[in-house]
């Protein structure tokens, strides 16, 4: 593999090679598109997060602290605003944050680097994905300003047909974001198939790529269903056709089947890339080969495939037949097994390692613990008899926040800290990073664990007001949300600081053995000077040694023979 930066070359990288605004907006460079995705999804995350703080603040008192009856407004009219807030929180977090935040932003940044490639297979399609996402977000903003949707992110009929808010605009925006997701999926499938470097067989791929590959399959196969479903909803609202209207011979429940046929696999769009990040971080910081590579790779595919067949477990109490309940319950239990296998594999990777508890590793450990809680609470929900007493309660809210926040977001933050030096070229303050991670871990548990308890006691979800006996748990949960807010503000502080004042990052600060660490930080426009030749395992750390003089790791072995060196300008990625 190629050596570290040749010192006499000018330090031109993808960030400073062209500084015009146009060069950013019309870029075909996967790294720049990744950065734009990152900024967009983090902006959405900020808005969704602030909405979450509003929700938690509202629920401090049983009758609502922010939205409640006043002289000029009835309680119901006030609660409508609360409903709009939680609906927006859900829509933003699911469609604009959780789905693209790892695949589209971190994926774009690192997938070609992990492959030793110059770019993704279809750079223009990649840019189009990004602008579809932006257009979808713009429609969502228009809908919100005109009359914020109050249907819940699930858009259940017939409520979403009868709602007087701007459902069509919001739904149209989500359809566009769906296309963005499909195009990204196609792009990554082709990239992983066609652009692996010489020598990188399927089973020499970093596990991150396996995770992204499984995710992309779901994106391509499942997302069209939500597009069609939401278009049907638009037709229903505008032309009263009657797909979901009992009075016209349709069925309100049909919508739920369509919706979850996408939205359950979508959960795996969110969690598989998260697991994929953990599979990169744990071996690097344990300085030890990943344990059970093939089991982890195949479990990603197993989760992706079985994940298509469990959507009915969202509908155990809506009157679907007992036979269906049984089958969906069985498949749900089956899908839990490959997830458990991954957790054990990560632990076995740490066994007898030389573990460095840097920030990314702390996030990985947080992920393992939080995801365990999230997964186990999911198991009891998959159990039909138990679901009857937990369905649509805060237990469900607690469960999916453990998975989505404790899983996806925590893993994303791990990945962000892991690859931050690579794509910014700067190191963040490690101490601040560690403190923030611990604080966030505490915040997540204080927020979501009380929700599990109050849900088991019977409090339904999506309540703007609640019975007084639930208040202690609600207060605890709100305190947790404030702790998270502090942690995120700290994180924003030290990350921004690192961009402007941070120490320069070495090419390989953590000692990773995958290809992205063999190029410069930040990489040049073409990523690699030469196409790498992969002859060894990407989890073999025996030849990656720390070098005091650089402050980072270097390879001590003789770089393997490379392809005949052709200047990258001669084989451009973008023509």
């Amino acid at each position: 593999m190629t050596a570290v930066n040749v010192p006499d070359k000018p330090k031109i990288n993808y960030l400073n090679c062209d500084k015009t605004i146009k060069s950013w907006l019309l870029t075909l460079d996967h790294k720049r598109i990744g950065i734009m995705y990152l900024i967009s999804t983090l902006t959405a995350f900020f808005i969704g997060g602030m909405l979450a703080e509003v929700i938690r603040t509202q629920l401090l008192v049983p009758k609502g602290l922010i939205f409640h009856a006043t002289k000029h407004m009835s309680s119901f009219a006030a609660y409508k605003h609360y409903n709009q807030v939680f609906t927006l929180h859900g829509i933003i977090m699911v469609f604009m944050v959780l789905i693209p935040i790892i695949v589209a932003s971190l994926g774009n940044l690192v997938i070609p680097l992990l492959l030793g490639a110059k770019d993704v297979a279809f750079p223009r399609l990649n840019l189009m994905s990004f602008y579809l996402y932006v257009a979808g977000a713009a429609m969502a903003i228009i809908s919100t300003i005109a009359g914020a949707v109050d249907t819940g992110w699930t858009f259940y009929t017939p409520f979403s047909i009868q709602s007087e808010t701007y459902v069509c605009w919001m739904v149209g925006g989500i359809v566009l974001i769906g296309f963005s997701s499909i195009f990204t999926g196609i792009n990554f499938i082709v990239t992983i198939h066609k652009m692996r470097p010489p020598g990188m067989t399927w089973f020499r791929m970093p596990l991150f790529l396996w995770g992204i590959y499984a995710t992309s399959i779901i994106q391509v196969a499942a997302t069209p269903v939500i597009g069609v479903t939401l278009l049907l909803l638009i037709l229903e609202r505008t032309m009263h056709i009657g797909f979901f209207n009992a009075a016209l011979g349709g069925s309100p429940v049909l919508f739920q089947d369509f919706f979850w046929f996408y939205s359950h696999p979508a959960v795996y769009i969110m969690i598989l890339p998260a697991m994929a990040i953990i599979s990169e971080i744990v071996p690097t910081f344990s300085r030890k080969h990943i344990f059970g590579y093939e089991f982890i790779a195949f479990s990603s595919l197993a989760i992706a495939l079985i994940g298509f067949l469990v959507w009915g477990h969202h509908m155990f109490v809506n009157g679907q037949s007992a036979e269906l309940d049984t089958i969906f319950s069985l498949l749900t239990f089956l899908v839990a097994v490959p997830s458990a296998v991954k957790v054990f594999n990560w632990l076995a990777t740490m066994y007898k390692g030389a573990i460095k508890l840097d920030t990314p590793m702390l996030y990985a450990l947080s992920f393992i613990i939080l995801f365990t809680v999230g997964g186990l609470t999911g198991v009891v929900l998959g159990c039909i008899a138990e679901d009857v007493v937990l369905h649509d309660t805060y237990f469900v809210v607690g469960h999916f926040h453990y998975v989505m926040f404790g899983g996806t977001i925590i893993a994303f933050l791990g990945g962000l800290h892991y690859w931050w030096p690579k794509f910014t070229g700067k190191m963040y303050n490690e101490t601040m990073g560690r403190i923030t991670c611990v604080l966030l871990f505490i915040g997540v548990n204080v927020t979501f664990f009380p929700q599990l308890i109050v849900g088991a006691e019977g409090m339904p979800r999506r309540y703007a007001s609640y019975l007084p006996q639930y208040q202690p748990y609600m207060i605890a949960s709100t305190v947790g949300a404030y702790i998270q807010l502090v942690a995120f503000l700290m994180m924003a502080g030290y990350l921004l600081h690192s961009i402007f004042r941070g120490k320069k990052a070495p090419d390989n600060p953590w000692g990773g053995a995958t290809l992205e660490w063999t190029t410069a930080s930040p990489p040049s426009h073409y990523n690699f000077d030469d196409t790498p030749l992969v002859i060894e395992d990407c989890y073999d750390y025996s030849n990656v040694k720390y070098d005091e003089s650089i402050g980072g790791y270097v390879r001590t072995d003789v770089p393997p023979k490379t392809e005949p060196a052709t200047p990258p300008e001669m084989t451009p990625a973008h023509t």
Partner: protein, 503 residues
């Protein structure tokens, strides 16, 4: 499922130990409780075990194998995979999962199948109110349940999805418009519980609660007898405004209309009657009797400025051919008048508040039963002229009414549901959506039950499921006739043309 049966007593014993008792899930007062609790405990301890194991190992490895400069810079040599080990830790979770699946499945099957001989209660949900109908004709907004009796609920919704969720009785089921959803439960203790709407339904979702009272059977019967006749209390005829207040509670009016001047989803009723109302059209109207009547029967025709058109249509509850006198409407308007300082003769209904002072009531006898019969409100059988031979059929029809789920949509006391009430239906003229008015004779009733949706009564949606598989054909003719006999027994205009043929 023999293996589970053999397996579960052992597990039950283990998890019955006080130290392994219930954490998290509150005690349930229904027969489902112990099973759900047992399975919860099983899951709970499995989860605690794995959470402690995984967290413990993660922390232990992080400390024991931590990177130490000069001491431990590289990992110890160890295998990078071990297939038997990996298969083992795949199989063990798989076995635990299958045990939980099997137990969940088995218990769920018990919960799915209602035993025979259930007491039937109809549940009607709409934004944001619950209404309960009992086989004897009472309608209440508090759910009364007999203790130690299996109760089957037949449920439907007028508008959007709702969720019937009583945490203390461990039952939950979605309530879906256009479908009759059923769920059953047997409460083992008396007590006061809360029914909470679990499926998001809009502005008032979090306030869509109902009180649930599980009562000893005699007390339960007393409550129902009181609720059955809203016009009478302890044998005394109530003033109309008192009845109006009951109606306001029963119909859920007070969810949107306050009586203390607070702004609601709809205009407050305080000082409404007789006042000047600003309309969205820019005009000003006086809230007199005619205005109030129209506002209730045809909401949306004249919108009050500053409110949106969200009031459900109450036409069928107060209008309709069987209620020409609109006594319920008058009662409600009397109640609204008592809340207003502007109330005047023009805003009050033309009938007196206290029936005792009216001429009509003086001419009736003192028996409250007869009075109610005259008012056409009693839930008791209105038709005394049925042939004696028909009485067993009526009894069968009444049972079918409750057990087949008719009770979810059709009341027998004049209260409107999702479908027309059966009170005073047979023999009365019925207006259809195609503009025709037809007499509800035997043929018509038969047709409407077997082919719902072909003809639809004005003011209702064509959402009744077909019962032809259960009721059509010669072998089912007795069932069908029994139902129609029962409908006849509820009408004071039943005649030979409305009764099933006897030969």
């Amino acid at each position: 499922m023999m293996s589970i049966d053999a397996f579960s007593p052992m597990l039950t014993q283990v998890f019955a130990h006080p130290l392994l008792g219930s954490y998290g899930l509150p005690n349930s007062d229904s027969t489902f409780g112990p099973k759900i609790q047992f399975l919860w405990n099983f899951w709970f301890w499995v989860s605690v075990f794995f959470t402690v194991l995984i967290t413990g190992l993660a922390v232990f490895f992080s400390i024991k194998y931590r990177f130490r400069k000069g001491v431990r810079e590289v990992a110890d040599p160890s295998a990078d995979h071990n297939t038997p080990l990996e298969i083992t830790w795949s199989i063990i979770p798989l076995i635990i999962m299958m045990v939980m699946f099997a137990l969940g499945f088995k218990y769920y099957m018990d919960m799915e199948q209602p035993p025979s001989g259930c007491y039937n209660i109809g549940v009607l949900a709409w934004k944001w109110h619950w209404q309960f109908t009992y086989p004897d004709g009472a309608t209440t907004s508090t759910l009364y349940m007999p203790v130690d009796t299996p109760v089957k609920f037949s449920m439907t919704s007028k508008d959007v999805l709702h969720g019937f969720w009583i945490p203390d009785l461990s039952i939950q089921r979605d309530v879906i418009p256009g479908r009759t959803m059923t769920v059953w439960v047997k409460a083992i203790h008396t007590g006061h519980f809360k029914l909470q709407c679990a499926e998001y339904c809009g502005d008032g979702h979090s306030e869509m609660l109902a009180n649930v009272e599980v009562l000893p059977i005699p007390e339960f019967k007393k409550k129902l007898a009181q609720a059955a006749d809203i016009w009478v209390h302890n044998g005394k005829i109530l003033p109309l405004h008192v009845v109006g207040k009951k109606i306001a509670e029963l119909e859920g009016c007070l969810g949107c209309h306050s009586v203390n001047g607070a702004r609601g989803t709809g205009p407050t009723w305080k000082n409404l009657a007789g006042s000047h109302v600003k309309l969205a059209s820019g005009h000003t109207a006086t809230a007199d009797y005619a205005y109030l009547r129209q506002a209730i029967l045809y909401p949306g025709r004249k919108m009050v400025a500053g409110f949106s058109n969200v009031m459900p249509n109450y036409y069928t509850d107060f209008g309709g051919a069987a209620h020409k006198k609109h006594r319920k409407l008058d009662a409600l308007i009397w109640y609204i008048n008592t809340l207003s300082k502007h109330a005047s003769k023009a805003s009050r209904p033309p009938v007196p508040d206290h029936p005792g002072k009216s001429k009509a009531s003086k001419t009736t006898s003192n028996s409250s039963g007869k009075k109610s019969a005259k008012m056409g409100t009693s839930a008791a059988m209105a038709n005394k002229k049925l042939p004696a031979a028909a009485l067993p059929m009526v009894a069968v029809g009444k049972k079918l009414y409750a057990s087949m789920g008719c009770i979810a949509c059709h009341t027998v006391n004049g209260q409107a549901g999702v479908g027309p009430t059966w009170k005073n239906l047979a023999g009365y003229p019925v207006k259809l959506t195609n503009g025709k008015t037809v007499a509800a004779d035997y043929k018509f009733l038969r047709f409407m039950i077997l082919y719902p949706g072909k003809k639809v009564v004005a003011g209702f949606q064509p959402i009744m499921p077909s019962y032809s598989s259960a009721l059509a054909g010669t072998k089912n003719v007795k069932k069908l006739d029994s139902l129609i006999w029962y409908i006849n027994s509820l009408s004071d205009k039943a005649s030979a043309s409305t009764e099933p043929p006897t030969k």
